[in-house]
């Protein structure tokens, strides 16, 4: 019986959940499950969806953290200057910014043909610099209306998970049921063959980065609502977390394989892992070692499957 990594991830998650409930009786409390399954994974989950989109198309995005920092800075800075700024307009503004930054990344990668790793590393510096131009340090004061995105709930269910479910379904549909989605997979697994079979590789790559930018912007919207503030440093390191999540979720870094559901599963696993570490009050340095071990074990396990 062979399971694909992106299915395997759910099995691992199940095992982890069982192990967690054995390890700490607090884990299965309704409050904790709500936190760990419905609230905490949203920010990382959205960023992971964006990263997965790009990685499946054969690229990588190291500028995720800086895009989040810049978007959150703009949100917090605008609200601080003008508390009555309409929240809906802010959402639109941030989405446009995210798409714009994604398009810029896509332009450099697809059009200027710079290696994705280096291109997005350079863009990371540029967005980080821009964020520092805009705001000197983190400011708070994101209004309650906007914070509803992260804190609000409808009949006990957090709004954020409902919105996330919609986004996840949309992304899944785009990647699995549309021609564009098929092209993304094809370009990711073999750009030369795709080009021969008439796919516009450049355009597909570009659009994948735009889609990724949009999803990362959604993550930034959720995060600034959850943090109630934003600044030039709030997203630092997010790209590494997102890549870790999708890789644990069975997305191959060489492109062309993996699913967005798996990517979300990876984000859930990371969230549950941090949660159980806190519930067990483990020494924080040992936590770092364990994090490294988990990452390597998970991926070594998948890699063997492939061989």
């Amino acid at each position: 019986m062979k399971l694909k990594p992106e299915r395997l991830v759910w099995f691992i998650l199940l095992l982890l959940l069982v192990a967690c409930s054995l390890a700490s009786p607090l884990f299965l409390s309704v409050r904790n499950l709500r936190n760990v399954l419905l609230v905490q994974p949203i920010g990382l989950g959205l960023a992971a969806l964006g990263e997965a989109f790009i990685v499946i198309s054969g690229g990588i995005d190291l500028s995720v953290g800086s895009i989040i920092s810049l978007s959150a800075s703009v949100a917090a800075g605008t609200f601080a200057a003008n508390p009555d700024f309409p929240p809906a307009l802010m959402v639109v503004l941030l989405l446009a910014m995210g798409a714009g930054m994604g398009a810029l990344n896509g332009l450099v990668v697809a059009r200027l043909r710079v290696t994705p790793f280096m291109a997005t590393l350079a863009m990371m510096l540029i967005y980080q610099g821009a964020a520092l131009f805009y705001l000197k340090k983190t400011v708070g004061g994101i209004p309650r209306d906007f914070r509803f995105i992260a804190d609000g709930s409808v009949a006990g269910v957090p709004v954020s998970i409902l919105l996330f479910a919609v986004v996840l379904a949309l992304v899944w549909l785009v990647l699995n049921k549309t021609r564009f989605g098929r092209h993304v997979y094809a370009v990711g697994s073999d750009p030369q063959v795709s080009a021969i079979s008439g796919i516009n590789v450049e355009r597909t790559r570009f659009l994948a980065y735009v889609a990724g930018g949009l999803l990362v912007a959604l993550s930034a919207i959720f995060l600034s609502a959850r943090m109630g503030g934003g600044g030039p440093k709030v997203g630092v390191g997010y790209e590494i977390d997102a890549i870790t999540a999708i890789v644990i979720g069975g997305v191959s870094l060489s492109g062309g394989s993996g699913s967005v559901l798996g990517a979300f599963g990876g984000a859930l696993i990371l969230g549950v892992f941090y949660n159980i570490m806190n519930l067990l009050s483990l020494n924080s340095f040992i936590q770092i070692v364990l994090k490294g071990i988990v990452l390597i074990l998970a991926v070594a396990f998948y890699s063997k499957k492939k061989a």
Binding site: V18, M227, N278, L279, Q287
Partner: protein, 332 residues
């Protein structure tokens, strides 16, 4: 086939165990459970902060449980940490904020539960907390800058070296220093650069500044992590070792004393954590606590530095912060 059966069996057993388990709920036997959400760990300053916290906790037998989490400097992780601590059923929450302005919702949630919430070491953009224990960071930069200006007799050319761009602590210290320097019109600021609290970076930036400016009369650095390597660079370039400022890093103090140069240490005290714990306990016992509690910290001039320096200990020791029982001191 066998494999599949095995997997099904494991799942079944696991599910059964999982369903029985919640009956084990943790029972509390009197005493207080205290949760501390720390912003980050992994440098020696945080180690002293932790040591001071544990030393204080040991003096209070009524504390039966102590939970510490590490947010790795990420505000989103800290929000999750605070939620997790609340899940653990803590009686009081102590927070060292990663960025005070970006964890407000979590602080408000904790406060709404009716437990004492003591924030220390940063600012917070809400009034939904029990007590805010701080050391004024603008004051920190101001005191350093004023000492430097006076040392230079109110005139001279200086360079500013600060920590990480966009970091609240670094920016507040810098703002304080710039504010103080405005009062000394004859002090000329040659340049300001961020050195990320990294000695090698500070050293190479200072080397470039030495090339750029034929005369530097003083160095304002918000931490010894930068003034120490900057002085090294001056020494290697065979330039005079000018007055400088920093924090209570032992290596910086050692360099000042060994090279007989004048410097000013303004401590970023690690005793904040102990004070925050004391206040949280007071609040738990129903005593009245101030809404804002500011710790008075005094700078150490060249004479005081000679008195406090620990020549035999690690460069990464924090002088003046080691007044605690031996068993809690970081091990060398």
């Amino acid at each position: 086939m066998m494999k599949r059966k095995g997997i099904v069996a494991i799942i079944a057993i696991a599910a059964a165990v999982a369903m029985v388990l919640p009956c084990w709920a943790e029972t509390k036997k009197g005493g207080f459970a205290i949760g501390w959400s720390n912003a980050g760990m992994g440098d020696s300053w945080r180690l002293f902060l932790d040591a001071n916290f544990r030393a204080e906790a040991a003096q209070h037998p009524e504390i039966t449980k102590l939970y510490v989490t590490n947010a790795d400097e990420k505000p989103e992780k800290q929000i999750a940490d605070i939620d997790d601590l609340l899940t653990k059923g803590i009686d009081a929450l102590i927070v060292y904020p990663t960025v005070g302005d970006a964890i407000v919702p979590a602080i408000e949630r904790a406060y709404a539960q009716g437990i004492p919430v003591v924030v220390f070491g940063g600012t917070i953009n809400t009034d939904k907390y029990t007590c805010l224990v701080t050391q004024d960071l603008k004051d920190f930069g101001r005191a350093q800058a004023e000492w430097l200006a006076k040392e230079l007799g109110g005139k001279g050319k200086i360079v500013l070296l600060s920590g990480i761009a966009g970091n609240t602590t670094a920016e507040d210290r810098l703002a304080g220093a710039r504010e103080a320097l405005k009062k000394y019109p004859k002090i000329e600021i040659l340049d300001h650069q961020y050195c990320d609290w990294s000695p090698p970076k500070a050293k190479s930036i200072m080397e470039a500044m030495i090339q750029a400016f034929p005369k530097i009369d003083g160095i304002w650095a918000d931490s010894g992590l930068m003034s120490w390597p900057a002085l090294q660079a001056l020494k290697e370039a065979k330039r005079p070792l000018v007055p400088s400022t920093g924090d209570q890093l032992n290596g910086y103090a050692k360099f000042l004393v060994d090279n007989k140069c004048r410097g000013f240490v303004f401590p970023m005290t690690t005793r904040l954590s102990g004070d925050a714990l004391k206040i949280a306990l007071k609040a738990l016992k129903g005593e009245k606590v101030p809404k804002n509690y500011s710790i008075e910290v005094k700078g150490l001039g060249p004479d005081k530095i000679k008195e406090f320096v620990r020549p035999s200990l690690s460069d990464w020791w924090w002088i003046g912060d080691d007044q605690m029982p031996k068993e809690f001191l970081p091990k060398l």
